[in-house]
């Protein structure tokens, strides 16, 4: 599980992408990203999550998100990515079935 905080923007998004890549490359392709302490996400953050989702699936796993605040939820809805990156109510719920 990756727990983030602060702003997920042009500055921090590349670090998220690297962290997900490293997790998958180390044999952990089932990734939960906890956004509970993330106050803001922009399209760079969305891009990093999509890149991570693709990487996880290529590794035979998946990427799920939880802890989504209103700004993040609205960004997901406006870009129609709420169906691709469905927000789970808790870390436990995100891990369900794994």
């Amino acid at each position: 599980m990756l727990r983030l905080d602060g702003r997920l923007n042009l500055v921090s998004a590349p670090r998220l992408k690297v962290a997900i890549d490293q997790a998958v490359d180390r044999g952990r392709p089932r990734v939960v990203v906890d956004l509970g302490a993330v106050s803001f996400m922009d399209s760079s953050g969305l891009g990093a999550l999509i890149a991570g989702l693709k990487k996880a699936r290529q590794g035979g796993g998946d990427l799920r998100i939880t802890g989504v605040n209103q700004q993040v939820a609205t960004v997901l809805q406006l870009t129609n990515l709420d169906r691709v990156l469905r927000a789970h109510s808790s870390v436990e719920a995100a891990k369900d079935g794994w």
């Binding site: 500055v11 399209s43 891009g47 406006l78 870009t79």
Partner: protein, 134 residues
């Protein structure tokens, strides 16, 4: 220059503190637009010696207005912008997101400078007026 986005967002964080009357939804959506436009200036607005920009925010009783001026290259016409990126694309949503969170996104190229006007109507006030019939 990407780090300058943090300075810009720190400014908006201070607005939250100084103007608690502004609804969080309005401010966070306005912030989303500002960050996306700034990102576009940083990523695509190449200019010799780097891009210099100035941002000004005005909080009016019924709207938030931002003016962003920069020395980057001319911006594309956004009037016909539609969301058409593949759902698994890793980029290409920024300007769409900015447009979707604003009520007005104006642009003018004067000399070698870009000026963008960002306007978001304050929904809280609109809802209040609708509720009272004013």
């Amino acid at each position: 220059m990407p780090e300058s986005i943090d300075r810009l967002q720190n400014l908006l964080a201070q607005v939250r503190v100084d103007h608690p009357d502004i609804e969080e939804t309005d401010l966070s959506m306005f912030e989303t637009a500002v960050v996306e436009i700034h990102g576009n200036v940083v990523e695509h607005g190449t200019a010799p010696g780097g891009v210099v920009y100035a941002f000004e925010l005005e909080g009016r009783s019924d709207r938030l207005v931002g003016m962003l001026a920069d020395t980057g290259s001319a911006a594309p016409d956004l009037s016909q912008l539609h969301q058409s990126v593949d759902e698994m694309a890793e980029s290409g949503r920024g300007l769409w997101l900015a447009k979707a969170t604003l009520d007005e996104l104006g642009y003018a190229r004067i000399g070698n400078r870009n000026t963008r006007k960002l306007v978001r109507t304050r929904r809280d006030l609109t809802a209040l007026r609708a509720g009272t019939g004013a």
